[in-house]
C-alpha cells in the first residue's frame, strides 16, 4: 500500500503535546489549582487544534492510504521503528479523542473529585491522552504496544485515588485483567515478528503495514490460530468482550466521572481498534476461523449486557453494563469480516463513545446533586431539574438506537451485516446471531426506557423534594456537554460524514488479504 508523507512533525506533535503539557504542569506547585486547570485545558485545546489541522490536511480522496506517514528508527536492537500514520480507520477515533478530552477538562473546572489534588488528576488525564492518540496513530507493533499500555497506569491511579468506596478492588481488577490480556498479546506480536519477513529487506519486522500486506503468508494455519487467539484475549479484555468483561462494571462504577467518560468514550475503543487494525488484516485466515466464535461471544455479550442492565439498581452500573452490550454490537460487525460490518463497527465506536460518555457525565452530575445513584431513590428529575432530565432522555433514546441519532448507525448496520457475512464464514450461524442481536435491541429499549421512567418521570421522592442542592444543568456542564449532543444529532442525520472517511480504509485493509488469496472479500 502506498503511503503519503507530507508533514512529518504533525503526528508526533499531536501525540506528545499532552505529555509536554503534563511536564509543564509538573513544574508548578500543587496548591495553584486554577493555574493547573488552565494549563490542562490549554494543552488539550492545543491538541484539539493540532487535531483539527490534521483533519484539514487529511486527503479525503485517499482515505484508504496512510497519511502523514513517518517511519524512523527507534529501538534498532529489537527492530522496532517509530512508525506512524493516519488513515480513514483511525481518523474518526483520533477526532473523538481530541474532542472529548477538552470537554472533560472543562467539566473538571468545578468537578475535581475527592480527595482533590487537581494537579495530579489533570496530569494523569493528559498522559492518558498521549497514550490514546498514540495507539491510534502507531503503525509499528511495539510502538502500538507501548502506547496501548501507557494508558494503564494513569487510569489505574484515577480509579484508585479518586474513585468510590470500592476503588482499590476495582482498580486492581482493571489493571490485572488488562495486563493479562496484553501479556498474551505481546507474545502473539513476537511470534508474528519471527514468522514474517519483510520482502523488501529480508528481515523480521514489526511494521504493521508490511505485516498487513503479508497477511500471515507462510505461517502454518494452526500457528495462525494460536497467534490470533493471543490477540483475541488481549484486545478482547480491553473491549471488553464476554467473558472478559467483568472488570468493566466495577471499574466504571468506582471511577470518578471523568474516568468513566474517558473509559467509555475512548479507552474501550483501543481493543476494537486493535481487532480491525492488527488482528484481522494481519491474520485473515485465522480471523475467518475465529469469526464464528467472536460472533458468538459478541451476541452473548449483547444479551448478557442487556439482562445485566435490567438487574441493576445503580444507575452508573447500569450504564456500564449497557457498554458491554453496545460493544457486543461493535464486535458483531467486526466478526462478519465485511467492509459493511467493519464500517458499522467504527461508527458504533464513535457513537458509543459520544452517547455513553454523555450518559456517564449525566450520572456524575446526578450523583453530585442527589449523592446517590440508586435508581429506587431517584425520580422526578423532569420536575426538579427538567433540562438534566431531558438530556438524560435524549441520550437514552440515542443509546437505544433511535433512527436519526448516532446510535442507530452503529447498531442497525452491524445487525444487518450479520445477514451476509464474508465468504467462508457460516452464513446460517451469523443469521442466527442476527436474530439474537435484534432481540438485544428490544431489551436495550426496555432497560433504557425503564431507567428513564424510574429516574426522570413521576414525582420527586420525599427525600429529595425540597433539597436545594438539586439544581438544573450549570453553565460549565452546558459548555462541556453541548458538543456531545450536537454531534449525536449530526452523525445521526448525516452518517456519511464518518462512513465516507472510514470506507476506503476498511476496503483497503480487507483488500490486502484478497491479494494473498485468503478469500475474505467485502460483502
Amino acid at each position: 500500500m502506498e503511503t503519503i508523507a507530507d508533514l512529518d512533525w504533525l503526528l508526533t506533535a499531536l501525540v506528545f503535546a499532552p505529555l509536554a503539557g503534563a511536564l509543564v504542569m509538573a513544574l508548578f506547585p500543587q496548591d495553584e489549582e486554577e493555574l493547573h486547570k488552565r494549563l490542562a485545558l490549554l494543552t488539550s485545546l492545543v491538541t484539539l487544534g493540532l487535531g483539527v489541522f490534521l483533519f484539514v490536511e487529511f486527503d479525503y480522496d485517499n482515505a484508504g492510504r496512510l497519511q502523514q506517514f513517518v517511519d524512523w528508527d527507534w529501538i534498532e536492537v529489537i527492530g522496532a521503528g517509530y512508525t506512524m500514520g493516519v488513515d480513514g480507520m483511525s481518523l474518526p477515533l483520533i477526532g473523538l479523542t481530541v474532542l472529548v478530552m477538552p470537554l472533560v477538562f472543562i467539566y473538571s473546572w468545578d468537578h475535581i473529585p475527592k480527595p482533590g489534588n487537581a494537579k495530579a488528576f489533570l496530569m494523569l488525564m493528559l498522559i492518558l491522552e498521549t497514550g490514546m492518540i498514540g495507539t491510534f496513530v502507531a503503525q509499528d507493533l511495539i510502538l502500538f504496544f507501548v502506547f496501548f499500555e501507557v494508558v494503564l497506569l494513569p487510569m489505574f491511579f484515577m480509579i484508585a485515588v479518586w474513585g468510590g468506596e470500592d476503588r482499590r478492588y476495582a482498580s486492581l481488577k482493571f489493571f490485572l485483567y488488562t495486563l493479562f490480556g496484553s501479556a498474551l498479546m505481546l507474545l502473539s506480536f513476537l511470534a508474528l515478528f519471527f514468522l514474517t519477513t519483510d520482502p523488501a529487506t529480508g528481515e523480521h519486522t514489526f511494521n504493521m503495514l508490511v505485516l498487513s500486506e503479508s497477511a500471515g503468508d507462510g505461517i502454518v494455519r494452526s500457528t495462525q490460530l494460536i497467534i490470533f487467539g493471543g490477540m483475541f484475549i488481549g484486545f478482547g479484555v480491553k473491549v471488553p468482550m464476554f467473558p472478559f468483561h467483568t472488570w468493566l462494571p466495577d471499574a466504571h462504577t468506582q471511577a470518578p466521572t471523568q474516568g468513566s467518560v474517558i473509559l467509555a468514550a475512548v479507552l474501550l475503543k483501543l481493543g476494537t481498534y486493535g481487532f480491525i487494525r492488527i488482528a484481522i488484516p494481519m491474520l485473515p485466515e485465522a480471523a475467518e476461523a475465529w469469526a464464528p466464535w467472536i460472533g458468538l461471544f459478541a451476541v452473548i455479550g449483547i444479551i448478557y449486557g442487556a439482562l445485566g442492565c435490567l438487574a441493576q439498581t445503580d444507575m452508573k452500573r447500569l450504564i456500564a453494563f449497557s457498554s458491554v452490550a453496545h460493544m457486543g454490537f461493535v464486535m458483531l460487525g467486526i466478526a462478519t469480516l465485511t467492509d459493511f460490518g467493519i464500517n458499522a463497527a467504527i461508527f458504533g465506536m464513535v457513537a458509543h463513545g459520544l452517547i455513553t460518555g454523555m450518559l456517564f457525565f449525566i450520572a456524575g452530575s446526578v450523583k453530585e446533586r442527589y449523592h446517590t445513584l440508586e435508581i429506587d431513590r431517584l425520580g422526578g428529575m423532569l420536575v426538579q431539574a427538567p433540562k438534566l432530565g431531558w438530556i438524560l432522555g435524549f441520550c437514552a433514546m440515542a443509546s437505544l438506537g433511535l433512527p436519526g441519532l448516532a446510535g442507530f448507525w452503529g447498531e442497525f448496520p452491524a445487525i444487518l451485516s450479520a445477514y451476509n457475512p464474508a465468504a467462508g464464514i457460516p452464513e446460517e450461524t451469523f443469521r442466527g446471531y442476527m436474530v439474537v442481536a435484534a432481540i438485544g435491541t428490544v431489551l436495550a429499549a426496555g432497560y433504557l426506557l425503564w431507567l428513564l421512567q424510574r429516574t426522570a418521570m413521576g414525582e420527586p421522592s420525599e427525600e429529595f423534594a425540597n433539597d436545594p442542592e438539586i439544581t438544573d444543568v450549570s453553565t460549565i456542564e452546558w459548555i462541556a456537554w453541548t458538543p456531545f449532543l450536537f454531534l449525536i444529532v449530526l452523525f445521526g442525520v448525516a452518517p456519511g460524514l464518518i462512513f465516507e472517511v472510514t470506507d476506503p480504509a476498511v476496503v483497503e485493509s480487507l483488500n490486502n488479504c484478497i491479494q494473498v488469496g485468503c478469500e475474505v472479500a467485502g460483502g
Binding site: 507501548v146 497506569l153 491511579f157 485515588v161 486492581l172
Partner: protein, 499 residues
Amino acid sequence: MSALLAASDFVRPPIDWHAAAPELTLLAFGALLTMMDIGWLERGRKASSVLASLALLATMVPIITLAADGNDRTMFGGAFVVDNYSLIMKAMFVLAGYVVVLLSTNYIAEGDYWENEYYGLLLSSILGMVLMASARDLITIFVALELLSIPAYMLATWRKRDLKSNEAGMKYYLMGVFASAVMLYGMSLLYGSSGSTLLADINVALSAAGDPSSVVVLGIIFVTVGFAFKVSAFPFHTWAPDTYEGAPTPVTAFLSVASKAAGFVALMNIVFVGLLGRDDVVEPLMWVLAAASMTVGNLIALRQTNIVRMLAYSGVAQAGYMLAPLAVYGDVPETALGAVVTYLVIYAAMNLGAFAVIMAVARKTRSAEISDYRGLFHYAPGLTVAMTIFLFSLAGIPPLGGWFAKFRVVEALIDANNASGVVLGIFVAVNSVIALYYYARIGLAMWGEEAPDGDLSKVDVPVSLVAAIGITAIVTIAFGLGLVVGDFTDVSLVAASGG
C-alpha cells in the same frame, strides 16, 4: 636475586596495562582509603565516602577509554578478556557501586559505624565484580567470586550490635561458603574431564563428545547450583529474605543488585563460553530453575508485609526471568545473552531506585512495613512518583524500563522457535500478571489511602539520596522509552567460545 630469576623458567606474561586499568584503579583507591584510615584515624572519616565515590568515578575513565578504543584484549593466555560485554558489565558494576555509595553516605555516617572499613570492603567487593566481568577461566572466576563475596559477608553484619544483622551475615556466610564448596567441586569435575581451566578449551573438549559423561553432567549441575545460590534462584534462595531484612539497607541494595548481577555474569561466562556446546545438559536445568524461581518467588511475595522481604522474593522472581533466556541459549546464543545483559542493567537501575526510596521513607517512618507506606502521596509526592516508577518498572509496565527487559527475555524465548521456549514465555507472561498484584498493592497504599495517624510531616531527604533516586529514575525511563541506551546491550560472546 637475578640468579634466582635466571634459574626459574617463569616468564612474566605480558601485561596490557590499559586492559587492567579499571581493576588497578579500584585497587589503588582501595589501598589509599586504607592508608588514610591508618594515617589520619578519625579525621579521615568524613572524607571516606567522597574518596570511595571518586574511586568509582575514576574507574569509569579507563572503562570509557577501553570502550572508545573498541579492540578486544586478551591477557594471561585467555583467562582475562576485555570485550564489549565485559566493559558493559564493568560499567554497570561500577555505576551500581556508585549509587550504593550515594545510598550509604548518610546511613553510615549517621549510624556511628566504621566508615573507612565499610567503603574499603565495598570497593574490594566491587573489584571482585569488575574482575569477574573479564574472567574466562575457572580459577579466575573462583578468585573473583571469593573476592566479591567475602567482603559482602562482612558488610551484611555491619550493624554488629543488632541481632538481626548478625543473623543476616551468618546465614549469608554459611550458605555462601557451602555453595562455594559445591561449586568448586563442580569446577574440579569440569577440569578433570576437559583437562583445562580455560573456558574456551573446556567448550572444545566437552562439545566434542557425543552424549555427556555423568561426570560432566554432575560438574555442570554443581557449578549451576553454586551460582543459583548467588543469584538467589529457587530453591537456593532461602538466605535472601532474612539477609536482606537484617543487613543495613544500602548493603541489601548492593547484594540484591550488584552481587546478584555478578553471579549472573559468572554464570554467563561459564554457560556461553565454556558450555556452549553442552546446551543439552544446561538448558533443561535452566528451564526448571527459571520457571520455579519466577513462580515460587512471585507467589511468596504476594504474602509479604515488609517491603524489603517483598523485594527479596520479587528478586527471586526477577532472577527467574533473567535465567529464562539461558533455557534457550543453545538455539539463539546472541539474543539470549543480549536479553540477560539488558535485564541486568535495567534491573540494577530500578531495584537500586526502589531501595533508595525505601531508605528515604525509612528516615521518617523508621520502618519498612508496607502499611507504613499508606498515604505517602499526601506528604511526599515526589518520593511516591519515584517509587511508582520503580515498582511498576519492576512489574514491566511500559513506558518504564522493565517492559523492555521483559520484552528482550520473551523475544529470546520466542526466537528459539521451540516448544520449551514458548511455554517458558507463557510462564513469564502469567508471572508478570501475578507480580503486578503485589507491586500495585503498594501503589494503592501510597496513592489511595490515608496516612497512618494523619501524620503529614515532610520527609527529610538528603542530597545524596535525591541524586541516587534521580540517576536511577532517569536510567529506568530512558530504557523504557527506547532511547539509544537500549542498543548498548547488544553484545555477543559467541566468538569467545572458540566453538
